[in-house]
Symmetry: C2
Subunit: 285 residues, 2 copies
């Protein structure tokens, strides 16, 4: 039976560290603070925001939200963004995206203070990430995967990792981060000939495709017996009752050494990483 690596445990260890760092900041008279920026009030963001408020509340990190008029002009948005960007009491900025059309994120992405760019929306951090620099912020969901591996004390040198999915927010940055961590990485996607063949000799498989039961046990015939399967997918369950990941848990679990679940896995670590980034922002100011 595989060990289920729990998001709550990974998040818990990060929170412990965050608490120490907040105490340290307080000694120096510094205070982390998150500003969320939303244009209009998209209900799609509600559950994400609730998750953030819960974690930040638990850690005692201040949050504020700027809700801009749904019909705001580009100049108005850029001006409001600049105000937040230049406010020295704000140590992290989260813009709920995508912005309603025809607003563009361009100006914000170009000008955001890299130290406040906690969700890696700015060109500087995206460029730094793609160049393999480790002093930048990573997109939280992709970083959460790395944190699961670190929590399990896995050294990625000489390990084969398969990432299924090539999205801008998870698959692509994850490939870059894993290469920086010395993993040998294969990126599979909808145009891959034979994913099970690409998984041969894999030590770690990460599913981030958003496709229910994408990874099945029969695909793991030639994978390592010490396989770790990490599920980043979020899909509606077939019966409509809640969410599930990309991994067909029933058939995959018996064939690997470690596995994560959805819910209860990667998704439950992202808000904690956002909090960590806001604290890091404060440390850098």
């Amino acid at each position: 039976m595989a060990i289920v690596v729990k998001g709550a445990d990974v998040a818990g260890s990060i929170k412990e560290d965050i608490r120490v760092r907040i105490t340290e900041l307080e000694k120096n008279g510094k205070k982390p603070k998150l500003m969320m920026i939303s244009v209009g009030d998209d209900p799609a963001n509600a559950s994400y925001e609730r998750g953030i408020l819960k974690v930040f509340g638990e850690l005692g990190i201040e949050t504020e939200k700027t809700v801009l008029d749904a019909g705001i002009s580009q100049e108005g948005f850029d001006e409001a963004f600049t105000g937040v960007n230049e406010d020295s009491s704000i140590t992290g900025i989260l813009v709920f995206r995508p912005l309603p059309k025809p607003l563009s994120i361009e100006f914000a992405a170009k000008t955001i203070d890299p130290r406040k760019d906690i969700d890696c929306m700015g060109y500087y951090n995206q460029a730094a990430l793609s160049m393999g620099r480790k002093d930048c912020y990573y997109p939280c969901t992709a970083e959460a995967v790395i944190r699961f591996l670190k929590y399990e004390k896995i050294d990625l040198a000489y390990k084969n990792v398969v990432v299924i999915g090539r999205s801008i927010v998870v698959g692509r940055p994850l490939v870059s981060m894993l290469i920086s961590e010395n993993a040998t990485v294969t990126c599979c996607h909808t145009k891959t000939r034979d994913i099970s063949d690409r998984i041969s000799n894999a030590d770690i498989v990460v599913t981030a495709a958003g496709s229910r039961a994408l990874l099945k046990g029969e695909m793991l015939k030639n994978a390592s017996p010490n396989l770790f399967c990490i599920d980043v997918g979020i899909n509606m369950r077939e019966d409509g009752k809640g969410i599930c990941g990309d991994i067909d848990f029933e058939t995959v679990e018996p064939l690997c050494e470690k596995i994560t679940t959805v819910p209860g896995g990667v998704g439950s670590v992202t808000s904690t990483l956002l909090a960590e980034h806001v604290v890091r922002g404060a440390e850098q100011m």
Copy 2:
């Protein structure tokens, strides 16, 4: 016997296209112009510069070079860079890097006009590349690999590509570009357990490690019979007489369908791509 795909042929087809586009630009009263910026006069850049001048001369594209004092201050460099960046007669900028210490490229990377950033040194283009956007400039050497594949009319969907090397200028951007082109990509490097295992079922192998005879015939046992091997490496030959690539040509050539050589391969296309970018810069102005 493998077909040797020649850099001169690939460059030739790009030059043909460039000539048509320059004629088109002239009709609209536009003119491409490259500005090279060098701090001091590093002899390491001499052969690169000679190659550029040869290609640009052949195509009739104007070039100019700004040589800044080796002891220039950061402010002085940034100011000189801004002058070139804002000069509307310049449609492409090439800064010879690395800059001598302690000069930083930071300001230039942040402010360069994306349309003039022909060598992908700016954050905007690096970010766009990593996000899989195709409207940006790619680093020329990595792009040259893609052009060899396009010249051979290879559709990368459902193809397995192995990239050996993870440098900032070739390996990493190439991985990102290949994913955008629908290839299933594996990135191997010095911390890869067994490169020959990772090559199993590969359709294309790109060597960009800078390590003589890194890829040997014995490593290709399970690769596709239609294998295309592309060599980006540049190394001194063992006998000291000239350069060679990363591929052990003698043992690899009999086992693949197509192959490139060093010299005469990828390296001979990069200056032509730089010219293409300067022309594209002019088209966007």
